[in-house]
Symmetry: C2
Amino acid sequence: MTKGEDTRSAVLGQALSLASQLGLEGVTIGKLAEHVGMSKSGLFAHFSSKENLQVAILDEAVERFVALVVAPALKKPRGEARVRAMLDHWLAWSKADFMPGGCIFVAAFAELDDRPGPARDRLLAAQRDWLGTLAGAVRIAVEEKQFRKDVDPEQVAHELYANALGLHYLSRLGDPTVAERRTRAAFDRILTDARARH
Amino acid sequence: MTKGEDTRSAVLGQALSLASQLGLEGVTIGKLAEHVGMSKSGLFAHFSSKENLQVAILDEAVERFVALVVAPALKKPRGEARVRAMLDHWLAWSKADFMPGGCIFVAAFAELDDRPGPARDRLLAAQRDWLGTLAGAVRIAVEEKQFRKDVDPEQVAHELYANALGLHYLSRLGDPTVAERRTRAAFDRILTDARARH
DNA sequence: TGACGAAACGAACGTTCGTCCTATTCTACG
DNA sequence: CGTAGAATAGGACGAACGTTCGTTTCGTCA
């Protein structure tokens, strides 16, 4: 890895952490430069525009999400086990130490949803992908006859997604430990309902 | 109503609409002044600081939420009917025409959750209130023996809250009509699970 | 009608933002 | 070792931000 790629990657790590706390818009080039010990202009040269920086931050986040959540789950056997692995890693993701302000996708979504542009496109594509991946894992569990055949995979994915969002908000609204327990209970209820009766 | 209170109220209406699209921080005094056809300084005099303006926007939103969601539901009979009324009005609220960017509380939460201050305090208090109100309505339904007595009202409130959040995000991620249908289905499943078996 | 307080205005402030340009330092390779 | 090109620094810019100030307009009641 060349020197440029090296610092660029280090910058993105810091940027990810900052963005989770202050939002994408809050990651100012000056503040970010100060955090990594560089000059504004030196850092700026890596991205050429703030918009590019924002997209790069999202790309970095997506890459980590795939590595930490999606990929490990795909190694699990098809069916409910894989769905549960996704949920487990998802909960761990939202507590990841490189995102002290919580899931960056949640923060970015609220900012970008009314501001068209490349960053918004990148974020929406990533979230649609993930929702599709979740629904796909549920569909496989149906095909494997672990879930009832009248289960709607997209409805289940919708509800799981909603509860993960709920964890993000409710752990800031009250006790994070309690919020996580309730979220796990909700996940359980959704999957138990979907399970085929024996 | 004096002239000052009159324009102040008109300003807050516009501010609410802007904040739902751009977030609280995006409601710039200059932009807001332009929207209502005033000078920056003339508008600024009503609030004395941007922080005060943000709190005033939240107060305005809370007032409307109580009038449009909480109050009508409290007129319904105790029990599941009241819970369902809350949910119905809540869904209508998140589509209110004075918030073209969606529920302002969701937008504000993402911005404020890592920025201590009066605005954050106001928002957290309001959301805790609402969560408590929801849980209270569920508890009443348990007391009225419409819900099973082993139902945990706070768990139910948590799941309802999570699904309402899910609606906000998922209606921007995909078809809003489909998202609302799925949210209603999730609400139904939660309440049906809670209902006493006959 | 005259006067007084409330309300709104226009201009300016200091700061921070993203971006650009030029010069300097570093790094890798022939 | 020397040099070309990559990487970084320094400084300046125009615009937008929140805020302040002194002045002007408006509404109300004696």
